[in-house]
Symmetry: C2
Subunit: 326 residues, 2 copies
Amino acid sequence: MKLKIAIAGYGNLGRGVECAVTAAPDMELCALFTRRDPISVKPSTNVPVYSMDKAPEMKNDIDVLILCGGSANDLPTQTPEFAKHFNVIDSFDTHAKIPEHFANVDKSCRESGKVGIISVGWDPGMFSLNRLYGQAILPEGNDYTFWGKGVSQGHSDAIRRIDGVLDARQYTIPVDAALESVRRGDNPTLTTREKHTRECFVVAEDGADLARIEKEIVTMPNYFADYDTTVHFISKEELLRDHAGIPHGGRVFRTGTTNGGKNSHVIEYSLKLDSNPEFTASVLVAFARAAARLNAEGVSGAKTVFDIAPAYLHAESGEYLRKNLL
Amino acid sequence: MKLKIAIAGYGNLGRGVECAVTAAPDMELCALFTRRDPISVKPSTNVPVYSMDKAPEMKNDIDVLILCGGSANDLPTQTPEFAKHFNVIDSFDTHAKIPEHFANVDKSCRESGKVGIISVGWDPGMFSLNRLYGQAILPEGNDYTFWGKGVSQGHSDAIRRIDGVLDARQYTIPVDAALESVRRGDNPTLTTREKHTRECFVVAEDGADLARIEKEIVTMPNYFADYDTTVHFISKEELLRDHAGIPHGGRVFRTGTTNGGKNSHVIEYSLKLDSNPEFTASVLVAFARAAARLNAEGVSGAKTVFDIAPAYLHAESGEYLRKNLL
C-alpha cells in the first residue's frame, strides 16, 4: 500500500513536493491544505484542496504531512501544532532557533506518539549531514561551507525594499581562489569577503537615482557591506528573460589529517541545482518516507536528519540496498 | 569513561586504526591481536600485543573489536567468529559475497547479543551512503562512480605476478572528459574504457624482455584488456622514491531531474586521500563508536553503514550537533 502524503502550504516549496511525491514509486498525494480559499488554489495534479483548518479531521487518512510554510512566520507555530495529529516534516532554517523549535515539536510528538523531522532540505539538511560525517571521520581537521552560485531569496528581498527598486535578483557566488585553496588542503582562514561575492540585477523605477540605489545596496549592513558586491541595472524584460529560475547549490568540505598530521585528506560534497525549491522538496519527501516507517515501528518524538538511518530514506528493502548499492 | 577499542590484525589497515583511535577524544586502544608471534609485532603506540587466540578471554574488557584482515581469506571466517564475543567492525569488500557475509555475521550477533557492522570504509562505505542518499532524493536519475587517481593494490599485485617483474605500482585514473560530461548533466552511457585509464610503473629484472612484459600487462583479461593502459619501466630506486605512498580517492555522482524532467540537479561526493588505509581506518573507528552506543542501547545483529543513524558516529551529543552542525 502506498504512503499517503499531504502538503500544507502551496508556494514554490509546496509545488516542489507535489512533483516529488508524484515521482516517488511508493507514495500518493492525498491532500493539499491551504490558508487561502481552496477554490482559488489550482494544483498541477488532481490532488484535492482543503482549508488548512480541516486538516485535523483527516488525521487518520494521512501518513505524513509535509509543511511547506516559511521559517519566519509559519513553521514555529504550524509544526508543533500539526505534530499533535500527524507525522510531520519541515524545512525550518532559522538556525539560532533550532533548539527551541526542536523542543516544541518534541513535546507535541511525545504527546501524540508521532514523529516530527525538522530542518530537512539541503542546508540545513544534506550539508549538515556532510558536516557531521566529515567531522566524525576526520576529527583533526576543518569544515568549510560555500554557497552558490545561486539566488538568495533573502538578499533579493532586501534589495526590493530599497526606495526606487521595482524588482531584483541577487546571486551568491563562491570565490574560486578560496575553493581552490581549500581543495588543495591549505586549511586557510577565510574572511567573509574572501569566501563569497554578491551580484545583483536590479530593475529601478523610471528616473530613480541609480547611484543612490547602488550605494544603499553595497553598504547595507549584514547583507552586503562585508562582501564585494556588483550591481547591474536591467529592464524588467531582461529580469524575466534571464533571471526567472531559482538555481542554487554549494559545497561542504572537510579537510583533515591522519597519522599525526603526516597525511592529508579532502572530502567534498557539492550540489548544483536548477531549482532550489524542487530539490529541497525532494529531500523532504525522502525523509517523509523515513517518518512513516519509523512511526510504524513505534518510534515517536522530534528528529533531525542526524537521527535517521539512511536505509529508511530509500524505497527499496535493506536486502536490495546491500546487494545493489553497498 | 572512554570506549575500549581493540584491533585484530596489524597490517596497513591495523596501523591506520591505531592512529585513528589515538586521534579520537572518547576512545582508548586497549589491545592488539595478531596471528604472528606477539613479541615480533612492534606497534607505534604502547598498546599491549596478544596472540589472536587469547581474544575471547578478554571479551569483557573490550567494547568494540575492529577487524583489520583481508576480505579474501580473513574476514569471511573472522568476523562471524569474533561476533560471538564482541561488537565487531570490518571492511569486507568482496561485493558479490556481501549478502552471505551479512547473514553469517547476523547469525553470530543474534546469538551473542552483539552488533556487527560490515563493509565499512569508503567503497564500500561512504560511497555506498552517497549512492543511497542520491537515489532516495532523486529517484529519476543516474549513478556514476569514478575511482582515483589512486593506487590499486589488486592491479599492482597482478603485474607483480608476471614473469620478469620485480615490483610494480598501478594507478587508476578517471577520464576528465567523462567526469565533465557527468558534471554537465549529460547523463552519458560510458564504457569501461571511457571512464578510467590505467598507468603502471614497473621494475623489471635485468635483461627481461620489456616488450613481452608490456604486452602481458595491457592484454591481461579483467585487469587491463578493457582499458587504455600506459606502462613505464623504472628503477627500483625510482619506485621507492616516487611511488611509496598509497593515495586514492574518487567520486560518486547522482544526476537527476525534477518536475517531469524540467530541472536538472547534480550531486557530487568526492574524496582525495593521501593514504587509503588511514582514511579507511578513520571510517572504521567512527562506526566503532556507533556499534558501542547501539549495543549499549540493547541493539544486536549485523548492520551496514545504511543502518546507522549519523548522530551515532560523532563523539558529541545530539544537542551539540543540532546547535553546531545542523
